[in-house]
Every structure is written in structure tokens, then in C-alpha cells.
Amino acid sequence: MGNSVQPLAEKAKRTGSGERPAERGPTSAVSAKSGRVLALDPTLAGNALTIVRTVLPARKAELVDLLTRMGTNIDTTTEMVFDALESVHFMRWVVIEGATPEAPAQLAFESNYDGTLTQHLADLYEHGARAMHAIYRCCAGYPFAAVPELAQDQLDGAQSFLIAGKIEYEAFYVGRRGKTARRIKIESRLRDGIERYLDGIGSDPLRHFANDPELVYAAIVDQLKEKQLADIQALSEPEPAAPRQSAAALVKHVLPIVPLVLPLLPLLPGLLAILRFKERTDVPESYDVVPPEQARLLAEREDFQVQNQLTHLVAVKPGPFRLLTARVVLYAITTLARFIYNQGDLGGLSTIHYARWVLIDGGKRLLFFSNYDGSWERYLGDFVDQAHKGLTSVWSNTQGFPRTRWLLKDGATDEENFKAWTRAHQIPTQLWYSAYKHLTVPNIGRNGHICAGLVEKPATREALERWLELL
């Protein structure tokens, strides 16, 4: 668990002077000259960025190769030093086939980041200017395709090109709010440090401390101060405030959509009749829809650690009715995610770190990105067991989805067909990076509680004993 994390602590101390660790090799002109400390706005954590740009047909194969090579060598690739990134929780690049054989492919970038957008992009160029340039040279409209390396004064232009491709999400879910990637890694290191210390004492460490919880706590704190002082000190840094979840915020969030929905209310019976008609006449895809080669290709890239990713692309059913329904449902899900399901629990599921839906091709195709814990089978199984209504309400508006009634019923409860449909529309992701690939959402939450007890010693004996039970 500690391999990719420990060196980061060391590098974080050194990037202040612009030095790069020697073993990484020569860097691009941009990052060597910038030499600035990347200070992230501490009040912003876990934001979503989606950028979609068209791929030049002549350079598509090159792009896929580059991304695949980097993606299968995430820890060692030199074009972008992923472990040095400070703003990133998760990120991915995926090449999406055009909607028709004539349409060019598109390159989607999805990231979940801390700080402002400008700081995040600066972070990407600080540690991966060569990669950013090599990737976007393959895209249409990139102003610097002709130059082999980006110069310092071209940086702004390159970032503008990216921002021009930025699209807003239709729905966004955050598993653990208010924790920056840096904080998550620090808290994990501290928890690991405590466990290693106790393990070093023996399989029954309590005996060593005369069965006294006070002595255990004092010894742990002493040990951490001695071995991980920087991490302990970092705990006093301010954390992003939890987003305001007041009723006023809810009203402010919902208000913009009211003028769109209100005129439709008198039409509701008619709309429901249209919905039922469509649901009866839609044609679901059949069970044996997943080609074995595709199933194997996807499985080969999964389960190397507890976390996995899912990129899913499906055409929206034609017509304005379906598109509007999808958008309304996605808006509702975002509202629920922000105001109700904001404690690391989505209707009972605690396996999702970050997930979002975006629409591409002018509303013709629906793209879904998820970063989650555990196997694909478990992830989808949990949805079938506990949260099928949410998925059904969104995906029943897309092609081939299992038969649905009243937008919420059946659909994803049809376990075999739902899983086959999902797998059939899942697309391989060439490059996916997680900043803390060995941590689950519950791990992160628990580490937070453990470290809260380090910042402020539990006040009562009872609270102290409960804190010890977290270990």
C-alpha cells in the first residue's frame, strides 16, 4: 500500500525549489523552467472536469498506442509522472469511436481534482507536459501540432485549447466530500504507520501497555511524531468546508430548472402515456449480446487492485422526449447526490469514489464514467440489489436497455440482461490513474476518523476506547 505513497512525501518537500528527482530523467522545457510550488486552493476538493476533443483520423492509431502504452505502465512512464501530481484523485483518457463509421473518433478526458481549474491544468503540465502535448497533437484544432515540444509561452494557448473542449456534466456523484487527494494520502500513511508500529510490538500489543488504553494512545502519538512528523503537522492544515446543504442552497440549486419543468406539469398525463407507449414498443437487446473478445478485453484490464473503473457509452433513444427525460432524471440524481446522498452512501452503496454522466454528440450519446471499489460483478450486483431504480430511470432512455415500466420498474432488476447490456456498452479505457488505488471509500472515511482522534485527543475514556476500536 505504501509504495507509490511514500516517495510522494519526499517529493512534496522538494518541488518547492523546482528540483526533480534524479531517476525520472530529463523533463520538458516547460516544467523545468516553471520551478514554482503548486499551491492548490485549499477550499476546493473533488471537482469534475470533462474535456472532449475530436481526434485526427490519421493520428488515431498513434494516439491509442500512446495512451495504451502509458496506461499499462502508469508507475514508470516518463511522459507524465502520475505520482507527482498533486491535484488529482482520478483521471482517464479514453478514445471513443465516432457515432457513425464516417464520424471521427473523439478523445475524452475525465478527472476529479482539487484546487481551481487553472491550478489543476497547471499541475498536469507541471508533471506531464510531454504527455499533454503528445496526446493533444493527435486532436483536431490543436494550435501547436507542428512543434516537437511546447515552449513556455505556448502553455496558455495549449490550456485554452483544452478548456474550449470542456463540457459540463449532467450528473455527478462524489463518494467522500471535503477530502483532498493529498489529505487522503496523508491520513492513509498515518493509519499504516500506527498499524505497523503496533504489529511490531506483537500480535497482542495491549499486553505491552499493561492493558491501559491511555498508554497505548500516548505511545502511538509519540511514535508518529518521531517517524511521521510532517504528516502529523499536515493534519492541522485547513480542510475544505463541507458544501452548504441548507434548504436555501437546495432552492438555489433547483430554481433554474423550475421554469422548464413547470409548463410541462399540466401535460403530465399525456407525457406518462407517451412514456408507457414507448416502453411497450422499445426493443431491448438480448442476453447474448456481449462478444467474448470484448468481454475478455475488458476483464484483462480489471482487478489489479481493489479499485476499478468503468467507461460506458450508449446511444440515447431517438427523439426529444427521451433526451429530455434523461436530462431531467440526471438533474434529479445530481440533486440527490449533493443534498441527500453526500455521506459516502448512495442509496446503500458505498463503493463509488466518483461517477458522472455526460452527453456528447449534441445529446445523441450518453457517456458514463465511474471510479469504484471491488469487482465489476460486485458493483453491478449491488446496483441490481439496492439501487436499480436510479440506474433504470437514466438508462431506460438509452438503446437496448432491458424492458422498463414507469421509468423506474423492472429494467435493472433483470439481472442477466442488465449485466449483459452494461458489459456490451462498456468501452476499453486506454489510460486510467488513481492517486490512491489501494484505498476503498470506507477505508478513507475510517482513516479520517482515526486522524481526527490524532488532531484532538478523544476527551473521555469511553471515546478513547472507541477510537482504539477504529484500528
Binding site: 498499524e195 497505548v216 467474448p292 439496492q386 442477466e416
Partner: protein, 492 residues
Amino acid sequence: MQTNVVNLQKDEIQGLVFTGYPKNEAGIYLLLGVIDRVSARAWLRSLLNEVTFGELREYGATLNVALSAPGLSALGLDLASLATFPLEFREGLREGDESYRPRILGDVGDSAPSKWLWGGPGKPPVHVLLMLYGPKNDPSFSARVAAHRARFAGALAEVAAPIDTISLPDRREHFGFADGIAQSRIEGQSPRPDANDPVKAGEFLFGYDNEFGKRPSSPTVAASPSARQHLELTDEGDRADFGKNGTFMVVRQLEQDVARFWSSMAEYSKSSTGAVDESQAIWLASKCVGRWPSGAPLVRSPDKDDPAWQNDNEFDYRDDSQGFKCPIGAHIRKANPRDSLEPSRDLSLIATRRRRILRRGRAYGAPLAMFAGDDGQKRGLVFICLNTNIRRQFEFIQQSWLNNEKFAGLYEDQDPVVGDQTPGYGATFTIPARPLRRRLVGLERFVQVRGGEYFFLPSKSALGFLSEPSSVKATDDRIATSARNGAAEITA
């Protein structure tokens, strides 16, 4: 929780689905490969009268037979029909070490498929598994086995050494713990529903509703005249239902290092003076398993063994959410979490009912006493389970529960008894205690996989169809003789 009784076509269903024949303490598994298709079919035809079907309470010698995907192909099942079987069955356990299945099942290191005694890549594929069971100390058992060998000679050959099975006293397994106490009841198994909520039959048999209220997709064959003679047509009428009353059977030979298990527990039990404390070692081992050696569950009797509870399977984890009685990572809790999964007891029960298996395996190899030194003999469990959805049931339990170091909020605890103990991701076991936990670190791997395959356990009608001489198609005359060819044909 429906109370309407399902009518199982028991005469069609192989007896192994209903029972592991506990009264037949002797057993042998023969691992066979087809040599000649026509004579193999004839052999199967002649065997039909001896295959055990139905739910039996009284029985003498029993026999069951199962086929792998290469086996079905070798007997002449065409590619289009094989394609109606799920991908994991067609791939089986024959993929190379770097493939995803060994990774998700934990078949790594010394348990990698390339090192297996049978069933792995590079070994001849096992086409047919012939399972013979007989009463203990029956002098005619070996004669019976010899007679079978004479009968299939020329049609099939043994592609690996047979496995003689034993029944250990007190229904123990080799580590010394009572096993097989928790067994699902299949809906429709008894004449009337009983207090222990039965699991829907479709979880274990094709042709019946499963826990999702749907019939699982059953493998089919073309509706040829021969097929129509034996099998029912599907609803669409263009194919015949081959899978009905059949099920998938996972077989894995698990070698148990009994000496090492107990010497590890003894090591962990050592006091500060360095003296081994055997009762402490047994306590630690029981914490790892979740039951005491007698079978008494820890949640019933956390501090010491209490044989009064040895047959208990009615317990749940409602009073033990933090694992102070039965650790969260203990073997039986990981293999069947019952009501303990988040977010609620009710949802947990629904989810766990959808991930049950019927276990029908047997021990092999001579027993070794607790704390005895290694005697150089091999022993273990031939793990056998039945389910209709290998991915959602067996593979899920193996991957997402047993070998998952992040199970139920844990950090790095794989199953301490059977886990693959990937260094860095597991190999620890947490024993929750107040106020401070105990933890075993550096756990070794005590169970290694020595062979395995995914089989199909056909119904009487399906076996009848397979053994029909007329259902051999002229175009499919190739016989899969090598694992490589077989895999390529079947998964195309």
C-alpha cells in the same frame, strides 16, 4: 419468501444436487478424456441406467457424471450450441497464468494453473468427471471401479491420476474443523417448506426461478429430431433446452498444508517466554475459521468450544456487527456474510441469498493430527460446488469475499484459512477486541490449488440426448485432443 411449493422434476436431476451421500464414505473421482467419440457416446448410453437421479434418503452405491466444455465438444456438441453456454464455462480453468481468471480466483504463485496436476493449460483437458460413491469398507468397491475402467477402455482414458476420497470422522475437514454444517436448502427439496428459508431452485438448477424471480438462461441445442426426442423446446420453439434440470459444477483440488497451518497457529500463540500455548493456538485458529473445531459458531460461544452448538446453522451476526465474537475476516463469515453486510440486515440477506452455492466436495489423503509435524503426505479437499451462475455465485464468493482484503470495510485481511495471502495486499488477520485489536501478520498460504475445472452436471434427458448415436454431426468430426485446440474451438 414465497410459500408456494415448486415442483422439482426430481427424476431428471442427478442425485448429487440433493445430497453428498454422507452414508457413502468411500469415493473416487475419475478424470477422463474422450478417445473415440462414437464409442464414448455408446459408453455414456450404457451408463445411463447406473447414474443416480432423484432425491434419495436411502441409497447403496451411487454414481454421477459431469462434462466440461471440451468434453461436450469431444462428444459432438456443435459450436453454435456451445456458444449458448456462458463464457466462463467455455473458458473453464484452462487459461494461462497471466489471464484474468487465475488473478481473480487467487490461483497465483504455487497455485498457478501451469503448475496444476490436472486441468491447467498444457495438460490434457478433462472431458468427463466420473464420480463413484460406495459404503465404507465395502470390499466390492475396488472391483466396481475396475469394472468401470474395463467398460470405458477404448472409448475414454484417464488423463490424470484418480482421486480417492475419504470421509473424516465427525464430519471434519483436514485442518480439524467440522465442515458442511451450513448447507442451503433448495426450494422444493423437501415435501413441505421448512423453517430455514429455502433458496430458490433456480440458483442451483436450470428450468426454475432464481432469487431474481427469473429463469436463468439455459444452454440450448438445435431442435433436431434427436433433440426433440429427449428435450423440451424453448419458448421460441427453434431450440431445445439442454440445460434444464442440470447445473454447473465447479471442481477444484485444494491441497491443505495441515502441518504448516498448526505450526503457524502455534507460533502466533507463543507467549513472551516463547512457549507454545496449544489451547491459545486452537483459539486463534477458531477465530480464523469462525467456528470451533466441534463446529460451534463463535457468535454462539465466543470464548470456548461448546459442542452443544456444533450443528448450529441458525445463527446470524446481528449482535456482532464489529466482529468481537466472530472476526469480520473469519472464513465462514467471509464465505457467507448472512445479515452482516451494509447497509442493512434485510438487504444483506437478499444479497447473500443471491450468492449461495451447494457444496458437495470430499476430503482426500490420510489425516494428520493437530500440531503433528509434516509427514510428507498430500491431503486436502476436492472442493465441489453447484450453481447455475458461476460468475455471480462461486467466482463472486471467491473473488469479492474470500480473497478480497477489503471485504466489509477491512483494509488487508484476506481469508486467513484459504486466502491467497498476496504479500502487500493481505496476509494479515484482524481479531477485533476491546479495547485494542489483536492482529496476525505475515500469514502464509495454507491452501494451494492443485487442479480444477468447470463442469456441467446434465439432467437425465440431456445425458440421453448426448449419448444418442444419431446426434453426431458429420461436420464436427474433430475431437479436441489438446487443451490448446479445445479452448480455441470452444471460445471462438
